[in-house]
Each structure stands twice: as structure tokens, then as C-alpha cells.
């Protein structure tokens, strides 16, 4: 399961300079400057789709993902996951954060174990944690703390933690930010392989056009803020994809670049 329906979602932030930001707080709509971020978003993602959301930075990609995941409430409109209205954060839709969301005071093992909290059997839990650490190639690093790992390993540990929870939907908010070029390419490959293996809905936020086209089953392009859906493409090219082998993909790539205001994509 993991069907997502986004119906006419609008989100306005109220600019309150210096005000504290709280979790799940509804903005006080009576005061401050209204800052429209999402302007009527309608989207539907099929179960098991890898959706890449593209858009200029600051356009509201993260906001949409946060709304779908239940961290923020939309100002108007509804979000349904598998036909049920999203009420708040839950382990059914796990978020992988832009900057590491691993708890730095816990070892890799303890962090990943958080995802298996619901399991009653201790041994089953340990087996599950180990299995997922093996999947992301972190065997042997279980007892290190996050700050002792490289950036790529930290992302993989966080991914393992999310996968152990067996969520219906996985959100990844620019999970490769701050990784070097090669690690980035390897991580793309790993996510694609993992997605083919587990067939979960993944909402993947990026500002890298090539990344979105190489990875996604579906690419959604947003406009500048307030964000609207500018393009909604279905990509049915097999993996691994490469721009030289598929003329159609190369053409799409040029279109997307043009749409986003870059005319001479290299």
C-alpha cells in the first residue's frame, strides 16, 4: 500500500519574524504577512511509485512533503494516503531529512533499532536490524556513533532506519545534499535498486534535474513560489538509464531545463 492523493492543497505561512517555530503549530492567520507557499496542488501517486519532485530552491517542495508526511497541516485541501486522511506524523510514513536525522547520542545499531520498535520479539528485532544494516552495507559499523561515519554512511544508516520500520511511504528530502559527486552517483544506484526490491512509494525531493530523470518513475516539476505543478511526467524507461541511449529522455531533459529557465543545458 502507499497510494497518495493530494487534493487542492494550499499552504500559507505567516511571517512572524523572530517567533519560535513549533512542531505542528497552526499559524495564527489573523496577524503577520501571509506567505503563500503551495498554491492549489493536485497530485496522485500510485502505490510503489518513485516520485521525484523537482523545482527551484525555496519553491515549496519540502513543504509539500512535510504536509503529506503529516508534519505540517495544509491551510486548505486534503491529503489522503490509502484513502485515509493524514492526521500527523507516524511510522507509516517515514521522513529522511535533508541534514542528518540520526540521533548522534545513539550508535548506528541503536538508531536503526528505533525503526523496529514495534516488534515484540527481541531476537526477531535484532535479526531485522542486522538484515537492513547488511542491505545498506554497514555491517561492521554497528557500534560506531554517527559522527564517526562518513556522510554517505550516515545517509545509508538513516535509510536503514527508515526501511526497518517498513513504512507505506518513504520521504527523502534532498538526501544526497552535501555528498561528494561519486558518492551521490552510488547512492542513486542504491536507492533505485532498493526501490525495485521493496516496491514502496518513495517521494524523493531534489533540485538536480538529471538525478530526477535518472531515478524517477514519475517526475513532478514545480514552479517558483507559490508552487504549482508545472510538469507531471511519467517515465517508463528501464534502469539503468542514460541520456545517450534514450533520445526521448534527452529531449525531456532539455524540456525540463527550458521549463526551469536554463536554455543551454550541458
Amino acid at each position: 500500500m502507499g497510494h497518495i492523493l493530494v487534493k487542492d492543497v494550499r499552504k500559507e505561512y505567516v511571517e512572524r519574524r523572530g517567533a519560535r517555530r513549533r512542531m505542528n503549530s497552526d499559524p495564527d492567520l489573523r496577524s503577520g504577512n501571509h506567505l503563500p507557499v503551495l498554491d492549489g496542488i493536485d497530485l496522485e501517486f500510485a502505490n510503489g511509485e518513485l516520485v521525484c519532485i523537482l523545482g527551484p530552491s525555496g519553491c515549496g517542495k519540502t513543504t509539500l512533503a512535510r504536509v503529506i508526511a503529516g508534519f505540517d497541516r495544509p491551510t486548505s485541501g486534503t491529503v489522503l494516503i490509502d484513502g485515509e486522511k493524514v492526521k500527523g506524523p507516524s511510522s507509516e510514513h517515514i521522513f529522511v531529512f535533508q541534514h542528518s536525522g540520526l540521533f548522534p547520542w545513539m550508535t548506528v545499531w541503536e538508531n536503526v533499532r528505533l525503526g523496529a520498535r514495534h516488534m515484540k520479539e527481541k531476537e526477531e528485532m535484532a535479526a531485522k536490524v542486522q538484515e537492513h544494516l547488511d542491505v545498506v552495507n554497514l555491517t561492521g559499523y554497528e557500534h560506531l556513533y554517527p559522527h564517526q561515519l562518513s556522510g554517505g554512511m550516515q545517509r545509508r544508516a538513516e535509510l536503514a532506519r527508515a526501511l526497518v520500520a517498513d513504512p507505506e511511504v518513504l520521504f527523502m528530502d534532498e538526501p544526497f545534499a552535501g555528498l561528494d559527486f561519486l558518492t551521490r552517483l552510488k547512492m542513486r544506484e542504491e536507492i533505485i535498486n532498493m526501490h525495485e526490491l521493496i516496491q514502496k512509494t518513495i517521494v524523493f525531493i531534489t533540485h538536480d534535474i538529471d538525478e530526477a530523470l535518472v531515478m524517477g518513475d514519475r517526475v513532478v516539476v514545480f514552479t517558483e513560489r507559490p508552487a504549482k505543478v508545472r510538469l507531471d511526467l511519467k517515465l517508463e524507461f528501464p534502469h539503468p538509464r542514460d541520456f545517450h541511449s534514450y533520445d526521448e529522455l534527452e529531449r525531456l531533459r532539455r524540456d525540463v531545463y527550458t521549463e526551469l529557465g536554463v536554455h543551454y543545458a550541458l
Binding site: R20, R21, R22, M23, A69, F71, G88, P89, S90, S91, H93, I94, F95, F97, H99, G101, F103, P104, W105, M106, L114, G115, R117, H118, Y145, P146, H147, A165
Partner: protein, 254 residues
């Protein structure tokens, strides 16, 4: 053992030796009587007397007891209260003004009231020590809870943490690296205040030893009590610093 290995021990000893030397020379040049300005040797003789008749140990233990009681009380109340107020914004708005109002009032200003309320003995001293370390601990706990990365709370919500788990498994470990320096500083303050607290209303402790020796015009004992305060202060600090070795705190230093 070569020089590099000995350096961390040798250099501090050198500075102490230099101070003692300057002290000795100053005493000689001053031309004052040893009753007014005892030299290092007089102090050493006095120290030996105090050690031999057991009074140094007795007074040190009395002071340490009061510091420990008052400080533990401050830690036991200040840290949990700080966590609650750091998390519960209404409570924070409610109490912040009050805290900032009470904080600058020196614990010593409370002496008359403390004596009146708690009588004579350990209680008023413990109360003053509690006051002196309570506010720094409370304020720094609130501050560090306010500055925990929001992402950690979102992760906690994502994995269905209960409020209790959020406190014990997120807030507490997240503030620990910030709290340790506060624990260290407030223990220092507690130790500063005990001497002042013991100059009133009690008949034991290093503060009392200083006051009593002054009345008896034994300046060498006064100096010995000061030395004991310094030595015990170093020891307490070393103990607290050991807490930094906890493994799950190491991330705070990166």
C-alpha cells in the same frame, strides 16, 4: 620518562612553586610579623597541626557535606524543571521574568532570611548553596532544551515516541553535552558560596575555620583553610570532568 610525557605534570607544579617562592620573598621583604603575614613555612607548620589534631579533616568533611547536599538538591530540581520549562513554552513565558528577577540576587543576600527560616546548623548553609547553583543550572538547561535541533523532535514523532520517551531518549541525551559545563560551573559556584555560608550560623566547615582562626589571630590557619578550599576545588572539578568521558556525549564536541 622523557620531557614530553612529564610536561603536563611538570608545568603546573612549576607555576605553584613559583607562587610559593614569590610568597616567601614577599613575606621576607615586607618585614611584617608572621602573625600578620605568615610565610609558606609558617603555613606548612600550621597545616601539619591542623592535620594532626584532625580538625582540617573534620571541617573539610562538614563543608563537603553541605556542598554535596545543596548541589545535589539543585541538580535534582533544576535540571528536570529546566527540561519541563524548555519544552513547555507557556510555562517558560510564565516563569522567565521571575527567574531573571531572582537570579541576580546574590545568595548572600538571603542570609538573614535563611537564618530566620532554617535556624542554626546545616540547613541555612545548604539552602544558600542550593540557591547559588540552582539558577545557573536552570537557565542553562532551559537554554539547551530550546536549542535542540527540531529535526530530532520530528524523528521522535516519526517513530511514535511517547512524551516520556521524548524526554528520556531525545531531550535528555541531546542536552547532556551542554549541561556538563553548566554542572561544572555551578559546582564551582557552590564551593565558593559554602565558605560565606559557613561564616554564619554554624560551628564547623572551612568557612568557620577561617572565621574562628581570624578571631584567634591565627593567620596561618586562615591561609591553610584557603589552601584546603583550593585543593578540594581542584579535586571536585576533576571528578566532574570525568563525565565528559561518557561515550554518548562525545558528539557534542565535534
Amino acid at each position: 620518562m622523557n620531557y614530553t610525557r612529564l610536561r603536563p605534570y611538570l608545568l603546573p607544579v612549576l607555576s605553584f612553586a613559583a607562587v610559593v617562592a614569590v610568597w616567601g620573598i614577599a613575606r621576607r621583604l615586607s618585614g611584617w610579623s608572621p602573625t600578620v603575614f605568615p610565610g609558606p613555612l609558617d603555613a606548612a607548620v600550621g597545616m601539619w597541626e591542623l592535620i594532626r589534631d584532625g580538625s582540617l579533616l573534620k571541617h573539610s568533611v562538614a563543608s563537603l557535606f553541605r556542598v554535596t547536599a545543596g548541589y545535589y538538591l539543585a541538580v535534582a530540581i533544576g535540571t528536570p524543571l529546566g527540561i519541563v520549562l524548555g519544552w513547555w513554552k507557556t510555562g517558560q513565558l510564565l516563569t522567565n521574568g521571575l527567574i531573571q528577577f531572582l537570579r541576580p540576587i546574590s545568595p548572600l543576600a538571603w542570609i538573614p532570611l535563611a537564618m530566620l527560616w532554617f535556624g542554626i546548623g546545616d540547613k541555612p548553609a545548604i539552602f544558600l548553596i542550593f540557591l547559588s547553583s540552582f539558577f545557573p543550572l536552570l537557565v542553562s538547561t532551559i537554554y539547551s532544551v530550546n536549542h535542540i535541533r527540531t529535526v530530532y523532535f520530528q524523528v521522535a514523532a516519526n517513530f511514535n515516541f511517547t512524551p516520556f520517551e521524548t524526554i528520556t531518549r531525545v531531550i535528555f541525551p541531546a542536552i547532556l553535552p551542554d549541561i556538563l559545563p553548566a554542572l561544572r560551573i555551578s559546582l564551582g559556584i557552590a564551593w565558593l558560596v559554602v565558605v560565606a555560608a559557613e561564616m554564619i550560623a554554624v560551628k564547623s566547615g572551612l568557612g568557620y575555620l577561617i572565621l574562628d582562626s581570624r578571631n584567634a589571630l591565627r593567620m596561618d590557619y586562615v591561609m591553610d583553610a584557603m589552601i584546603a578550599i583550593g585543593v578540594i576545588g581542584i579535586c571536585l572539578d576533576r571528578v566532574i570532568v570525568q563525565l565528559n568521558r561518557i561515550k554518548s556525549v562525545a558528539w557534542g564536541r565535534t
